[in-house]
């Protein structure tokens, strides 16, 4: 019994590291640009396909392909901010919600036409490897993914704390007007925020590829998980999103183990609704604008 729980906790923590990359992106965009990016999961999906094609066509290891997916998605983020999101900032909720929602629909359905609905997998030398200790089982691919995800989160945290640009981003998220008065160019800061958020999503895609299948709708799981984690971890808070994501991974894993849900999704939704029911004040304080 203890072993089953421990195993479920380990599985949950490992996948929670990936959720964290997606959640940090969502919370960064929400904190700095003040919009919710409904398309964040789709950039994970694009990262996965990019890694898949690099692996199958050029033989690049999916984890090594991070060095391609992250810059490509960074540029995509800057362009999306410049050509799309910038145009709806300061308007009411409708364009802000439905612009990124339309983007999400567009990316999913174009991918469906381009890549078909087939599941794509990449088999690496370490895909089947696992570490064993004390009766527990730790898949190597997931361990690497977790370690890299944590390292990237750490780098981002250091960037936000120590660099001028990072400080400017935190300033812009705390008070846009004052930040502008201090000479911070909001458009530049927003573009960097989008770029970083999408680069993290792309990294999540690459890290997933050795042990997860790519298909056009794969982003849904990750974005919904991220939304819940971001609400739980207080909107706009990077460290909060990280911790909440790890907890969500564990909760999902325990849910699958003990409730026997076929998909983790029902557990996620239940968590979201339970959060809304049980902690409305804490949430409302973060959400109301």
């Amino acid at each position: 019994m203890v072993e089953i729980v421990a195993q479920a906790v380990i599985n949950g923590l490992l996948i929670g590291g990936i959720y964290a990359l997606v959640s940090i992106g969502v919370t960064l965009i929400f904190g700095v640009v003040k919009i919710v990016n409904f398309a964040q999961g789709e950039f994970v999906m694009l990262g996965m396909y990019l890694s898949y094609f690099l692996a199958t066509r050029l033989g690049v290891d999916p984890i090594v392909s991070l060095v391609v997916t992250m810059p490509v998605l960074f540029v995509a983020g800057v362009l999306i901010q410049h050509f799309l999101i910038r145009r709806v900032l300061g308007q009411n909720d409708l364009p802000q919600i439905f612009l990124t929602f339309a983007l999400s629909l567009l990316i999913v359905n174009v991918s469906l036409m381009a890549f078909t609905a087939n599941y794509r997998t990449v088999h690496t030398a370490y895909s089947d490897e696992a570490l064993h200790f004390a009766g527990l089982y730790v898949p190597v691919a997931k361990l690497i993914a977790f370690a890299v995800a944590m390292a990237l989160s750490g780098v981002l945290w250091a960037f936000l704390q120590a660099t001028d640009l990072g400080k400017a981003m935190r300033a812009a998220s705390q008070n846009r007007e004052v930040a502008q008065l201090m000479g911070i160019n909001p458009n530049r800061v927003f573009a960097v925020a989008l770029g970083i958020a999408l680069a993290l999503a792309g990294a999540a895609g690459s890290l997933l590829m050795p042990f997860y299948s790519a298909y056009p709708m794969v982003g849904q799981v990750f974005v919904l998980m991220a939304f819940v984690a971001v609400v739980l971890g207080t909107l706009g808070n990077v460290v909060g999103a990280l911790i909440a994501s790890l907890l969500m991974g564990v909760a999902e894993s325990l849910g699958i183990q003990f409730i026997g849900a076929d998909s983790g999704l029902i557990v996620v939704f239940m968590l979201l609704l339970a959060t809304l029911a049980l902690r409305p004040r804490g949430l409302a304080a973060g959400v109301q604008r």
Binding site: V36, L103, L106, M113, A117, L224, I266, L273, L276
Partner: protein, 324 residues
Amino acid sequence: MAIPVRLGVAAAGTIVAAVLPLVVKSPFALDVLIRILLFAFIGTAWNLLGGYAKQFSLGHAAFFGLGAYTSTLLQIDLNVSPWIGMLAGGVVAAIASLPIGWLCFRLRGPYFTIATIATAQVLMLVFLKLRDFAWGAEGTTIPNLGNAPLMMQFEGKAAYYYVTLGLLVVALGITAWIERSRIGYYLVALGEEQDAAEAIGINVPQVKRRIFMISAFLTAMAGTFYVQYIYFIDPQTVFNFSVSIEAALVSIVGGVGLLFGPLVGAVLLETTSALLQSQLGSIAGVQLTVYSLILMAVILWRPTGILGYVGELVARRRAKRPER
């Protein structure tokens, strides 16, 4: 638009719509017309909550599915006519909207939207699991009784067309009445600025709750009609996310918070979808790709929707005309 003008447009439109099946005989064309009216109806229901109160739901499939399941269960298990089942489904959906609203209205803006997505998905997953009570994932076919108007089954598509037309006229009537009633002004006020509406003494939670109930009731009626029309029900069909998406899309493209907005949007989107299907066949992803491009274009260039833009043009022309 002035009230008499609008009434005239409505009357003329109803007459044209009523005689249309006398001219249009092809089943394909009638099917497209039925889909236009059905989604105009669902969009009109969505518009009450999303357009006037600015609570953007992407979970209306929850009510569509509840309506469909209520009437189908009543019909198959108890042999109750879907006409009664349709109203029963509306009641079930309206009651369900209370706990759903209790949860979702705690959040504002985009997070309200996310919560509504989650509730519809949870309901779908629940119905996928309900094997003993409601056929689980396989769903069931609805027994075909031939021409049985009392059981909402007809030979030929024209009768189905008139049912959807009737539903749409009812929903437009309710919307027009709400627009001019006290609750209509409350809705617009809370849609503009929730805190300010509260400050001037509007009971915001109550207004939201009531409009959500009406919106859910109407959406559920559409669910009953739809499964009677296709003779089949399963969770993936009636709780499908695309139902929620289309409900919102027809309203946004046509013009949110405008009486005829969803109808205009439904005409454009369903016609586009039918043309795509007849030209390209059903390739997975084409329809939603085009829908998402239309949605994006509307948001970036005409955020008030097609009808909203027409209204602006008319207003501009009026303004140019010299004072009488």
